[in-house]
Symmetry: C4
Subunit: 249 residues, 4 copies
């Protein structure tokens, strides 16, 4: 049973977390719902700020309804430190296995981001239509659950499937999941949220550009690399706006 | 006159209904309006929890305005137990005849769900673009009122037409109605609402995928079958969100 | 100067109007803004209930801001009975000339309804995708201002141009205006509002259907005729919803 | 360092500005956010009403959050008169260099207006679909930052790049920026806001028209010229609506 550790005892806590950071995680959940990336489903997590082997995410709940009391601490096998009877997301293994495979990642978003879905079921690769989605200069891979598990309910309900998804993600910021959704990661919670939102926006813009017809002048890999790795934009400006709106203050 | 039973006396009531269930039906009506499946028109019904030969639905009213006082009990020929002067929906026969033909169905939605309309007037079959619409693995049939009634006002205004629609629906969860809308059914009210909403969402996603161009990797029938019949997703999570928003509490 | 009658004296009033009807006209203006048919521009009018040679419309003002105090009475040449210094719409002649040409028309909407604009500048005729837009079974003609006035500012700023537009409209419920917008008329204010809203909705649905590809099974003229002229739907149900939302009560 | 003048001393102020005009600038920022032209990014500026060599714009802040206290005065090299520790937009040089090159321009908007982005990365020229976007009769040029600076972070972060963009803009009201967004200018703040909003709306309508298929009957240059230069429409009507909504009063 994945919800307990091998010894049967729950994992130890990584220590108390600053309530300001918990509020950020709550805000992230509500922001992604408000911006149309999440609906009643999907989830966002952050690595424990004091212990890289723990992460934090909501109990199983619609993202728009999350509060600080809903946040659960888990180890990287997605065993809860103390669930206190709260139901956990069945797909939490997405988060644990990505945090395990990617030490640089501090936050993970899993969504059914609507405009992105069609790119996971067609042959059209996502490409950056504008600088806000520069991080897509690394073409998002597509995870095909059939290749690793045959006919399934499409969900990542085990560490084995989570590890397979993390393997497809590789060193990319985004991976699509065929017929399901996508995962987006970042070196901080605001950056992961930013990327999840602009992945959705970019999907809409790229669809329009493809409708207008080619050739399409996407951001060059050189431009994408500069923006993503050398001269990142001001994520905080949007984060402040989103948080203000999401928390109503 | 369809609004009275053959004997001329109104049908007997199936008994009192828990106000919590009535509130769910009110919520369903408002949810479907809030999510863009219904506008000023369309309706949702539930089978009477204590009598399979009765069902409950609103009087003729825009779905966003429905309250508990507007709910009417009807028999499966859509005669009201006690209309108390309230006007009934002219198309209530959709509901009665489906409840009659499908003992497994506990709730019915009839809508003019906008993104779905084009699939009823073109040759493009609806197919599941993602797992949230897995139930579409059974390709929705299209009801053609011309085949059974020639030139009409397009409405299902009699038990004869309701029975013809129920016949087209067969054992499917969804049937399209050419130039009109669709019907969606489920084994519970939340499931029917869920399916109505994700039928609309899926129509949008499939349209985008078709714009991007094929081949399109839809959910396989095997995947659709697993999700729909063996390992259903967590409908309650979205239902709680929708109900919280719809009832403002 | 079109704003005074030939004799120089203002036209006589058709008499006082029931405030309930004025409230309906205010509601119509706000409804059309709320439903996305009007933005900061466009207008709706109603024939004076007591005098077929007078009509009522707002002073020049964004439709969402209209109140009862903004309503002006005009004759069919669009001279005001008593403007009291209020600026009138420059395109009021659309309304006056249609009321003059069409005794059956009791209300007129002029809008830049966005989804409809493309049908006025391409060769694609509007056709009814569903029964809510059955009135489009009479294919809307397209008014080309170049044909009657050469190079202009595109506006209907005189009775001559208004009469030309009314001539193009003929006996139809809708006429498109190339590169500008459309006019919609009805035998009552709620019906005109209903038609303006569902002309916009139908334009969206028809565009999607055309994207999916033909052949497209539009409503047959026989079906359109039945719904429009013999068995009209329940406009009041939507009107009550729209009015409740628009007036916030 | 561009943020100080050559002498090292900050530029002198152009004098106090009527708070009503500052409120207009605040409103413009919020209007453009509310209408979907700006999201967390982008900015609007106005020339100083008392000194053509100064302009006013917000500190670096999401447009929806701007208040009067956030407005900074700058010279045309974009040095602040008195930043008081407030962070400035990195791309303020867009504004300064356009004000310098175009004495007729009194306001500048820079946005990532979403529907417009695809026109900057494809070969499809923007053309006016309706009279509200008549100003597009002068086909918007596309600025290609690669031509002047090679591989960059896509941003206009210097007076040199600002001057290059102003050069591409020339005497036009709109210029697209490949893979980034656009700039819109006007002879007044309301006109610049109006043009920014209807550039976005027109992009949506033109995309739909192209989907329906050609030939497309765009506004003729003669019509565009009349509306833009000889008989401009009533911008104030929309401005009053937008300002009322944006300032909540």
């Amino acid at each position: 049973m994945a919800s307990t550790s091998r010894s049967g005892a729950p994992p130890a806590s990584g220590g108390p977390v600053d309530p300001v950071l918990i509020e950020d995680l709550v805000a992230a959940s509500r922001i992604l719902a408000a911006e149309g990336v999440l609906d009643g489903y999907g989830h966002v997590s952050m690595r424990h700020p004091g212990d890289p082997n723990r992460y934090l995410m909501s109990r199983s709940l619609a993202p728009a309804l999350v509060t600080a009391a809903d946040i659960i601490e888990l180890d990287l096998e997605s065993n809860p430190v103390d669930a206190r009877g709260r139901t956990m997301f069945r797909e939490r293994f997405i988060h644990g296995m990505i945090f395990k495979a990617r030490p640089d990642v501090m936050a993970v978003v899993h969504s059914h981001s609507p405009a992105v879905i069609p790119f996971g079921i067609t042959q059209v690769a996502m490409r950056p239509a504008f600088h806000m989605a520069a991080f897509l200069y690394r073409q998002p891979p597509v995870f095909e659950i059939r290749d690793v598990a045959g006919w399934t309910n499409m969900l990542i309900t085990s560490n084995r499937l989570g590890a397979a998804l993390a393997d497809t993600l590789g060193q990319n910021p985004v991976a699509l999941m065929r017929g399901h959704g996508n995962v987006v990661v970042g070196p901080s919670l605001p950056v992961a949220v930013f990327r999840a939102i602009y992945t959705e926006v970019n999907a809409r813009l790229q669809t329009i550009a493809l409708t207008l017809g080619g050739p399409i002048n996407y951001l060059a890999p050189e431009e994408g690399d500069i923006i993503t790795n050398k001269e990142p934009g001001d994520v905080g400006r949007a984060w402040n706006l989103w948080k203000t709106k999401a928390l109503g203050k």
